[in-house]
Structure formats: C-alpha cells, structure tokens
C-alpha cells in the first residue's frame, strides 16, 4: 500500500447563513484555502473526491453544476455520500484513491449549505425509510415526526440509555458542552464560540427533549472543508510535517428500525454502537496501535449532542465502557489534558453536516501538523483518532492519523 498523508487543509467561514454566496462559491472558499495552504494548484491534483448530504440543499449531484469552481474541470471525479458520515466517507475515498496507487495526489471536498434548505425537514427525511411502512397502517407522518422529533428525538433515547449504563449525569452533559464551546472560541473556523462559558450557564438553557437542553445541541451551519491528500513520497516534498492517514475503517450496524416489512429486526439500543467498537478496533490494528487509551494523543469524535462525546469516547475504545464520565471529571479531556477531546470545539459547536465528519479528520491532521493555532493542544501529538457518525443511528467511519506512516 502506498503511504497516504494529509498535506493541506482549507476551510470556509462557518456561520448560520451565507446568503452572499451560492453553494458552489461557498465550497470554492475551502478549496482555494487548501491550495493556498500548500502552494499547490489543480494542476497538481489527480482526482477530486466530493460529497455532501443533498437533502439539505435540495440540489442533486451539485458538482455537475458547481465543480468548475472547485478545480474539477476535466478531472476524474468521484461522489461519495453517506449521510452524517459523508465527510469521513469522502476522506476514506481519497485515502483509497491514493493507497491504491492509482493517484498520487487528490483533493477531498465536503460541505453543506444548511441555510438553502430546511434543516429540520432534511433531518426528518432520514426517517422516511422507516415512516413509509407505518403509513400503510394509517399512521400520520406529522404525528410520527413530532413524537421522534427528528435527530434530537432519536438522540434523546440514546442519551437516556447511555446515562443509565454509564452513570453519566446531566451535569456531565453541561460540562461537555461548556468544554467544547470554550474550545470553539479558540478556533476561528468554529460556528458557536462561547469563551468562558460555564456548565451552570449551559444548564439554564431551554430543555428541548430530556435530557438534552438547547446548550447541549449542535447548530446548523453553512460551511465547507477541503483536504489535499497525497502519497507519502509526494507529501515529503510539500510539507515538513505531513499528517499520515494510517487507517480508514467503517462498520455498518444499520438496520431498519421496523424491519423490511415492519417486522423489527434492528438495534433497539442506540447507545450500543457495536459498529463503532468494531471499526475502531480494526482501525487501531491496521495502524499498529495496541493500546489506544495510551497511544492516542487527541480524539475528534463526531458528537453533535453532548452525550455522544462521552459515549463515543468509550466506543472508540479510549477507555472502558462506562468510564468516560470519570475521564471527563479527571480533566483529561480538556485542551491541556492527557487526551484532549474535540479541541476544535467539535460538531456541537459547528455542524455543516456533510463537512462535519471530514472536519474531524482535518482537525486531527492540524493537531499533528502543529497548525491548530490557539486551539493547539498542549501535549505533543503523535497519533490521533477521528470519527464520524450518521445514518439513522448506526453508520460509523473511523480514521487514525499519525506523524509517521503506518508501521
């Protein structure tokens, strides 16, 4: 396998509404930033790998209209879309494009312009597959949606189940949210920046669906991310400190909640996340990491809701099951801790859905390259793990990055 490394990253501004640019132009900002970051141009790139979650913009295959803005003219282009995990899946596509030896340099692009559509409606369409059979039995779709309430409804079930099994309390959720929003204040590309916010202030925000308060939930963001990914050989000529992508894994534990014909065959506990454990184990094995809790220096789990940061910390095998609240209490997850989590502020602070899973990888790369500026963690970063979550509740992508190639 040809070594694969990140040599450059570009991000657009991330805010709630970019009415001054259309989708193609928003993405251009990230793409041109990545080229500027590396001193490269589209001439140097062999292929474009791109994706977003089209339910939000209502544009089918937006690259057909827009990719001229992204340097894709007359280039090989591959579109990968997997819902919430899209950004990570796009990185996987780029990884394999280079690891295969077919390309030496590619650009990976992921984005979302949430403001062009209706985020709630877009999220509700995730449930369409499950709602459709229920309509046969006379169920009212608007009633169903109000019961589950889109993403937050489903995650509320996940949160309460996790709290029961781990001993996580609502105070832990408040602490996670405060930690992330405070980190985000040091990240110029983050959306919700709340420097110095305290858990007590988070606890006062409006209750959405127990146990999730407004302060525990991600925003809807317009934003784009681009990463230039090359072979190890080429990377050394471009930058002194490439961030090698050591492994990419995924594990689909998704099943129809109500089964193919309403039979009900799937997971009933959304905090189990078996797929995450399997994907993480494989990713560490391939990366030559034997004890992730010691060898991983930074983690960027995909956690649009506060409970998920703790839950995925465990499912990514960074501590034993049920152990994350204690790790949070120990201070280890903070920027100056032993294993900082979401130094970028995480998805809970910035969520352009199609881009979010890619930004987890980008942030890990920045930490390894020492380019995270004010939100650079205190400790030396040799290995990092990035994660993406999506689907209805159980699609997962994992990437392990490091400052050396896969051993």
């Amino acid at each position: 396998m040809q070594d694969v490394a990140v040599v450059g990253i570009g991000l657009s501004k991330h805010v709630s509404k970019r009415r001054d640019v259309n989708i193609a132009e928003l993405v251009y900002e990230a793409v041109s930033a990545a080229y500027e970051d590396t001193g490269l141009s589209p001439h140097d790139i062999g292929a474009v790998i791109t994706g977003n979650m089209p339910a939000f913009e209502g544009v089918n295959l937006p690259e057909l209209w827009g990719a001229g803005h992204w340097g894709a003219y007359n280039k090989p282009l591959l579109r990968i879309t997997t819902g919430g995990t899209t950004g990570g899946s796009v990185v996987h596509g780029a990884f394999y494009a280079v690891a295969s030896g077919i390309f030496d340099a590619v650009i990976a692009i992921a984005f979302e312009k949430q403001s062009d559509g209706d985020t709630t409606m877009g999220l509700n369409t995730v449930a369409l597959a499950d709602i459709a059979p229920m309509l046969l039995y006379g169920a009212d779709p608007t009633l169903l949606i109000s019961m589950g309430g889109g993403a937050i409804g489903a995650v509320a079930y996940q949160a309460t189940s996790y709290m029961k099994s781990s001993g996580c309390t609502t105070h832990h959720l408040d602490k996670v949210a405060a930690m992330c929003r405070d980190n985000a204040a040091k990240n110029p590309y983050a959306h919700l920046q709340q420097p110095g916010i305290t858990p007590e202030e988070v606890a006062k925000t409006k209750m959405m669906e127990y146990p999730l308060r407004f302060g525990h939930c991600c925003p809807a963001t317009d934003g784009a991310c681009a990463m230039i990914i090359t072979s190890g050989e080429k990377a050394k000529k471009i930058t002194d400190c490439p961030a090698y992508i050591k492994s990419c894994t995924s594990c689909s534990d998704e099943g129809a909640v109500f089964g193919l014909y309403g039979g009900g065959t799937a997971n009933v506990d959304p905090c189990e996340q078996e797929g995450c454990k399997i994907a993480a184990k494989k990713a560490y094995e391939l990366a030559g990491i034997k004890d992730p809790s010691r060898e991983i220096d930074v983690a960027e789990p995909y956690a649009p809701f506060a409970n998920q940061l703790l839950m995925f910390y465990e499912r990514l095998l960074l501590c034993e099951e049920g152990g994350a609240p204690a790790v949070l209490d120990s201070g280890s997850m903070y920027l100056d801790g032993d294993l900082p989590v979401c130094p970028s502020g995480g998805v809970i602070s910035t969520n352009a859905i199609g881009a979010s899973a890619m930004e987890r990888v980008a942030e890990c790369a920045m930490q390894i390259m020492g380019k995270a500026g004010e939100h650079q963690v205190k400790k030396e970063v040799h290995n990092a793990v990035a994660h993406g979550w999506g689907g209805a509740l159980n699609l997962i992508v994992v990437a392990v990055l490091g400052d050396t190639p896969r051993g």
Binding site: I23, Y73, L77
Partner: protein, 381 residues
C-alpha cells in the same frame, strides 16, 4: 495494469417497468446471486459498495436501508452517488490498497418509485436553469443530438440504426425490458416524438432492476474461479456543465478512455478491443461514443454504424446486451455494462455471446448530456 483485481461473480435482476418488489428485495436478489455466482458467502466479503441516489431512492442516505439486503451488516460499507460503474471503481481501489481482498458491488434503480424526470431536473443550476422549466435530461440530450448532427452531418437514420441494433440485440437478452427482434428504422422514426430529434425509441426506458458484481484480489482469485475477468484498466473524467461546453463531442469520455487505454496498455483500441458495452441513454450517444473511444475518427460515428462493424456479427460488436436503450435501472446501468462485458470475456453470455472476446470495454455515465464518464477495460486469462 497487471492482473491485480478481477470480476469473479455477478448477477442481474430482470429489468421491468414496475417490479413487484421493493428496492431491498432487488438488492437482496443480486447480492445473493452475485455471491452464489462466485461460489462464496457473505463471510468471505470484506467490503460492500453500493451505488444509488438519494433523490432516485426518495430517501435520504439511500445506502442506509440497503445495508442488510446488500450483505453489508457489520462490514466496511460505503456508497457512491453516481452510476454503478463508479462503485466498481471504488471497490477496486479498496482492493488495490491491500486492506481488502473481496468486494461486493451493487447498483440499483427503481424508476417506478420516483417522479421519473425530476431528479435529473434537480441536477440543473439552481440559480437559473432549474426553475425555468425548459431543461431536463431528455431535452438536454436533444440539444446535444442536434449539435452533433449539425457538426458532422449525422442523420436521424444513423441514430435510428443504433436503436434498431440494440433493441434487436435485446431480444437475445432474457433480462432486457425492451426486446424488439423485428424493429426497423421506420418504426423508430415513427415512434413518439419527445424533443426533436429524440423519439421514444431513441431514449432509454426508465426501469426497475439491480446488478451486483464480486471483485477479488489476485491472491483470492485462484480460490474462487479459474475464469476471472481481470480489470486491466480504468479511467474516468468530469466535464463542464451542459451550457458551458461544446455539446457535439464527449470530451470527458475521450479523456476517460485515454486513461483506461494507457493503464491497459492499449495502443489501437479499434484493433485491440473485441467488444464494447456502452452506456447509451440516448441512441445518438452511442455514435458519439464511437468517436470518443477512438473506434473511428471525429464525426465518423454514423459511418461506422452504417458499416455494420458494431453489429453483433461485426468486427467490434457494441451492446450485444441491448444496452441502456433496452433497460435503464438508474444506478445499475454502468455496472450492468461491466457485468455484460464480463460475461462475454468468460464465455457466459448465452444467446448473445460473441465468439473469441479476450478484451472488452465497459462504459458508465452520470449527468445530463453524458457529463461524467468512466471506462473499464476487462480481459480474460
């Protein structure tokens, strides 16, 4: 490319206007069928790539509900939102990386569940063309056909001959939707006019169906089959938006073919390619493809058609399966071309078998006016 990845199994459903099955059942059928064809089980599969489209599926994250029927439960699974041939490309790259050995690739399309031509309209420029109500994939194809005809003196008869060839060939393909063994050019030219010069029989029939293939690394092939179809080369390319490029030629197909030929060490495609399965959503696209693929000179597609060379008994048969004009299950079409080319190379094409095919070309496209194209070169042992 040396022998590194091969197609070792495949399956297709019958293509129908309205299958009495859900997408999950169609996918299950080809997943099981492809595994059986390869003589392996789900346990032997490392990775699964599906090809589908959220708007064609009518469901966001369209791979989500296919995880189970595609055999991808607890597997490393992903999805491309393009024609199925691109899913085969992605699976191939996963195998070449060395991290996976066996891949299951599935493409599915079910025209009966979506508002047929609206997803195509949704690919148009949302700031202008989309809401003006004039462009869709058929009217765009018509504009391309007219530009092509005008540039090179191609006639409606030339184009009708493609339909006749393919729809007659389709009568040899038990899976095809549109089988017309006695079709004449007069009948094609009399069929329902859509957007001039595109008539109903010059245009793809929106279909329900699915296709699956199994790819394996060189290490695994001997344990699976003594008759692999090796992927010798692949190339793909993305062209400009339809109002921003000259429509009379398929530049991205030309670039894709050049890459594929270079990888496969093919210097003279017309001589070295024994058979081609081309993804022709519209009959004129096949003529344009002859030129882009180097089977004839620029503008000579009509002449090549008339020479008979691309008929099933010609020197370079094109679409013995009937092509997309005989069945178009959206994201399965290019993957079906790979499957048909594989069958030809392996001598398993039944009544539509062309003798002595050692090297075959398979093509897939995505986007109006064939904006994005991918070419595979397959070869036998």
């Amino acid at each position: 490319m040396e022998k590194k990845v091969a197609v070792v199994g495949y399956a297709q459903t019958r293509y129908e206007p309205d299958s009495d099955a859900s997408r999950e059942i169609l996918v299950l059928e080809v997943a099981e069928g492809a595994l059986k064809s390869a003589g392996i089980t789900r346990d032997d599969v490392d990775t699964v790539i599906t090809a589908n489209n959220d708007y064609l599926d009518g469901r966001t994250i369209s791979n989500m509900r296919l995880v189970e029927p595609a055999g991808a439960w607890l597997k490393d699974e992903s999805k491309v939102e393009m024609d199925g041939a691109y899913a085969a490309l992605y699976a191939m790259m996963r195998i070449l990386s060395g991290d996976h050995d066996v891949a299951l690739v599935i493409g599915v399309g079910q025209a009966s569940v979506y508002a047929t031509y609206i997803p195509g309209i949704m690919t148009l420029d949302p700031t202008f063309d989309r809401e003006r109500g004039l462009l869709n994939e058929v009217s765009a194809a018509a504009l391309q056909a007219r530009a092509y005809m005008n540039a090179y003196g191609i006639t409606e008869e030339h184009i009708a001959e493609v339909s006749v060839k393919n729809l007659r060939n389709a009568a040899l393909n038990p899976l095809a939707l549109r089988q017309m063994p006695d079709l004449t050019t007069d009948e094609v030219l009399d069929s329902r006019m859509l957007y001039s010069p595109v008539r109903e029989l010059n245009a793809f029939p929106p279909s329900d169906g699915a296709c699956g293939v199994v790819l394996a690394s060189a290490d695994k092939v001997p344990g699976i089959t003594g008759n692999p179809a090796w992927i010798r080369g692949v190339g793909f390319s993305h062209d400009s938006y339809l109002t921003e490029r000259p429509l009379h030629k398929l530049e991205s197909l030309k670039l894709a073919a050049e890459s594929a030929y270079a990888m496969a060490d093919i210097a003279d495609p017309k001589e070295e390619i024994g058979l081609a399965e081309i993804h022709e959503n519209f009959a004129h696209e096949e003529l344009m493809a002859y030129e882009a693929l180097g089977f004839c000179g620029q503008g000579k597609g009509g002449e090549l058609m008339q020479s008979g060379a691309t008929r099933i008994d010609g020197e370079l048969p094109v679409n013995p399966s009937g092509g997309a004009l005989s069945a178009n299950a959206a994201c399965a079409v290019g993957l079906a071309r790979i499957t048909e080319a594989t069958m030809q190379v392996r001598g398993e094409a039944g009544e539509r078998q062309v003798q002595g095919v050692t090297t075959a070309l398979a093509h897939g496209q995505t986007g109006p006016c064939a904006q994005e194209n991918i070419v595979f070169i397959l070869g036998g042992e």
